[in-house]
Amino acid sequence: MPLLEAVGIARRAPRAEAWLVDHVSLAVPAGRIIGVSGPSGSGKTLLLRAMAMLDPVDAGEVRLRGEPARRDRVPGFRSQVAYLHQRPALLGQTVREALARPYAIALRRGQRFDTNRAEAMFQTLGRDTGFLDKKTGDLSGGEAQIAALVRTAALDPTVLLLDEPTSALDPATAQAVERWLVDWIAAAPDGRAIVWVSHDAAQVERLGIAPWRMCAGRLSAGDET
């Protein structure tokens, strides 16, 4: 059984005929990185957002460990299936505040922000120890991406849905992120997986055991195109 499965997800723009996401099914097995590439506007982001149940869909459903996501448990589902926005909001004055913000929501009552763990993650990604106290307003686009990625990873999700997570990073840091995420899965291969959307086909090729391609709302195996 796949860890996460999208079944027949379809979505179209209001009052439009064309499908933005055209009945896409995608199985995400545990321990794998699924790479999805494709041109801008092909529906990659919409597919990811639908898999995190962030947008209403016209058809289809998402299953986590075979269970369809239940209406009354959507926040809990999203804490397991974590979508990372391409340009995420950091929500705080400093990186520390931004990383602590999720612990203020009801779902995380009883959990506490682990500073040491976050610092260790930042170190792996080449940030110095003062990074937690940097002002979020002073961060570069790439630094903001790293901060948001660490924030989400620190929450121990089951599946990471990454939307161009390295688009603002220099190549060296981007590869550090790739290695770090490969290790993240390897640490618990039975309970973790990643869907990685990137317009960079080389990155998808590098990461994806089975790269997929999205084109005009349709998903196909990468080697067919």
Partner: protein
């Protein structure tokens, strides 16, 4: 009650008219280009007030049936609701209905309490009390509702990424919107709080001025003013909170999904 009130003759009104004509002349001399608009506004002011004077004289007649008073009150309420919606830069489907419903519910509730429990005219819906009080409450609620709604829609559109980031981190729709909802309600209440703060120091409110001019004992005028300010504050608070919460329900669905596509710029 109005024994002290000096009656204004048409001749005396005529003297007042020369002042507005003088303003228009000044505008011509200084080439402000305002004389046309000034005269048009004066004319509108005269005609609108004459009309409302006639309507009120008719409605205030002692034997007027309750449904006449209620119809007038309803018309005032709907107009206030539509005006409150019309001022914003963005709208969502159902905004007009939300605005009318919020203004209607809070202003009628507060006016009802004010009439039935505080002022207690006989009958309780007596037009001479009901219509002016509802009018004052509507006017202030309208401001609160329109400010709150405008802020709410603006923030919701601008802070979309923030809201979606919170949702993606496992926040409920309420947790994702709470801060914006609170800010919007606060924004709507600022004018009412400001007005109460400077009351009597910077401004003598219109109703109190009117009562003083017509010879009412200042103590009584003050009591009325205090009561009406509290009615206004209560209605603005309820109305602003109501409309923002109704808007919140339109922009999120039961699946904790944010629906920013419903927000359109005008």
């Amino acid at each position: 009650m109005n024994g002290d009130l000096i009656e204004l003759s048409l001749g005396q009104l005529g003297v007042a008219t020369t002042l507005i004509v003088a303003s228009a002349l000044l505008s011509i001399v200084l080439r402000l280009g305002l004389h046309g608009r000034l005269l048009w506004a004066s004319l509108r002011c005269v005609v609108q007030l004459l009309l409302i004077g006639m309507v009120l004289k008719w409605v205030f007649a002692p034997d007027r049936a309750w449904y006449v008073i209620f119809s007038l009150a309803m018309a005032m309420t709907v107009i206030a609701g539509v005006v409150a919606m019309g001022r914003g830069e963005r709208r969502y489907p159902g905004m007009g209905l939300d605005s009318v419903v919020a203004i209607w519910a809070c202003s009628w509730l507060v006016t009802g309490v004010a009439l039935a429990a505080v002022v207690r005219p006989d009958p309780w819906y007596r037009a001479q009390y009901a219509i002016p009080m509802l009018g004052m409450i509507l006017h202030n609620t309208l401001n609160g509702v329109s400010l709150g709604l405008n802020r709410f829609c603006g923030e919701m559109a601008q802070r979309r990424t923030e809201i979606e980031t919170l949702l993606a981190l496992g926040a409920t729709r309420w947790e994702a919107a709470r801060e914006i909802v609170q800010q919007s309600i606060r924004t709507g209440l600022i004018p009412t709080i400001n007005a109460m703060t400077v009351m009597g120091i910077v401004s003598l409110p219109g109703m109190m001025t009117g009562q003083l001019l017509s010879g009412v004992d200042p103590n009584m005028a003050v009591r009325y003013q205090v009561a009406i300010m509290f009615f206004i504050a209560a209605a603005s608070t309820l109305g602003t909170a109501g409309v923002v919460l109704l808007g919140y329900r339109r922009l999120f669905n039961a699946d904790h999904q944010f629906l920013p596509d419903r927000l359109a710029a005008k």
